[in-house]
Amino acid sequence: MSAEQSPKIVIVDESPIRAAILQEGLREAGFTQVVHINEMQSLLARIYAVDPDIILIDLENPSRDVLEAMFQVSRAVKRPIAMFVDQSDSASIQASVEAGVSAYIVDGLKKERIKPILDLCVSRFNAFAKLQEELERTKSQLEDRKVIERAKGILMKVKGLNEDEAYVLLRSTAMREKKKIGEIAQSIITASEMLK
């Protein structure tokens, strides 16, 4: 794909990591003109300056409403034909909204050319979401471990148990109450602080 043929793509995303993942993916797929905007204050001015064919925006970005206004009133930017290429293509619309990406296509771009971009974005967004989830899980596991250690210490002191016995008590209580060990541990800490 030559530079002339490659559509100009703007990525509006406040997460630099996700934007980088997306940018890289688009470049690998042969799209050479990709610009990332993370400044929300001067969003419109920057979009006017780039004059993109396609705008990709993170769904959780409140500035989506600002973009909608641009398409309503702007004379500088051509009107988008649709937010999604084809109203009847509901599966791909749903996939992209669920993944958290929204694409605006500026007039004049053929449907066949936007579909691979949208598909690529959806898979990249999903990959990012998975990464994020793993990070959260690791974080909460670490957090849990700290809480469990503290709760074990309290049980050992108050009930005169050894470390293994304290852990067994925590685990069996969690199983009986159908809760996570971390939650039981947290309630022990809370209770002991209240009883101080």
């Binding site: 409140p62 989506r64 409403d65 600002v66 909608e68 206004a69 309503q72 509901s90 749903q94």
Partner: protein
Amino acid sequence: MTPPLRIGFIPLVDAAALIVAVDKGFAAAEGLEVELVREVSWSNVRDKLNIGLFDAAHLLAPVAIASSLGLGHVKVPIAAPFNLGINGNAITVSPALHAALMEEIDGDRFDPMVTAKALAKVVAKRRKAGAEPLTFGMTFPFSTHNYQLRFWMAAGGVDPDEDVRLVVLPPPYMVDSLKSGHVDAFCVGAPWNSIAVDLGIGHILHFVSDILVRAAEKVLAVRQVWAEKNPDTVAALVRAAVNAAAFIEDPDNRTEAARILAQPERIGVDAEVIQRTLTGRLKISPDGTIRESGRYLLVGREEAGRPDPVQAAWLYAQMVRWGQTALSPEGVKTAMAVFRSDLYDAALGRRPPEQPPVPFGAFAGPTFDPDNIRSHLEAFEVGRWKA
């Protein structure tokens, strides 16, 4: 028990009936299990409703109409069986613009015609001095805020597309933008006006009830095809909302309602600020001046919950006036069909009321007649519509 419903909302006080319906158990009492999903933009709420990720949503009344007409987006017919709020917005101006307006004012400063004329003078002076045009923030191209600002300033002779700049800002960005001087004024719902006043960076110039006595603001929206497939669920939702609205309007419950709405996962601001809106007793200036109005936000009083198709026709007329769509008989019909007073009446098992609701009471222009939108529009000097 029906399957759980997913309902989207934006953290604003006029989502009150919806939030209270869920959090106070009125929805559960109707056999509904509801998950409320907080959203960041109207585009998001609209899209997720349109593609079926939401069963229902707290939506700007004009967005429901635009969606049904296919304006600005794909066409998805919407049904609004409940009106979540009447009025509720305010126009807030920066201290500098407030001072400039007060200098030009000739008459009652709560009279919108007086302030609109003062605005025209300020605009003319700035132009003469070579200053940048004033910038006004509002929430969405298809929003009551957009139309209310335009209706007000145009009455004083200010052309909203030529003499000033109107920009869209997400509500949580309004206050910062006023503070940084990015905008000189804004029109938005609660709690943002009060927050600007509390920070000492804004004056509430008008409650929208000064401009229009009765203006439909947000609706509870569902897809029309969904409403047809799930009539019992729609009816149960309407009853839950009606009961919640009645609960909120009882002065004895105001504190509790404000506390429910203030929760961090709901609106997430001080309960006291929310209560001001519900009681219509607002601090309008940083010096502590209080203004009270029984019409600030109507949730359950005066049949506020019953959708009024005439209100939909008025909103459609504004879209035509400002060039967002062309006037057509089908357009009027489609717009009016969004506001489903029939579903509301059916849910409550009652006949339509014999008395029509209180009229708009617009401060300028002729009485609105949905059967004659053309002559209504012709009465206004400023506008973008093509005959």
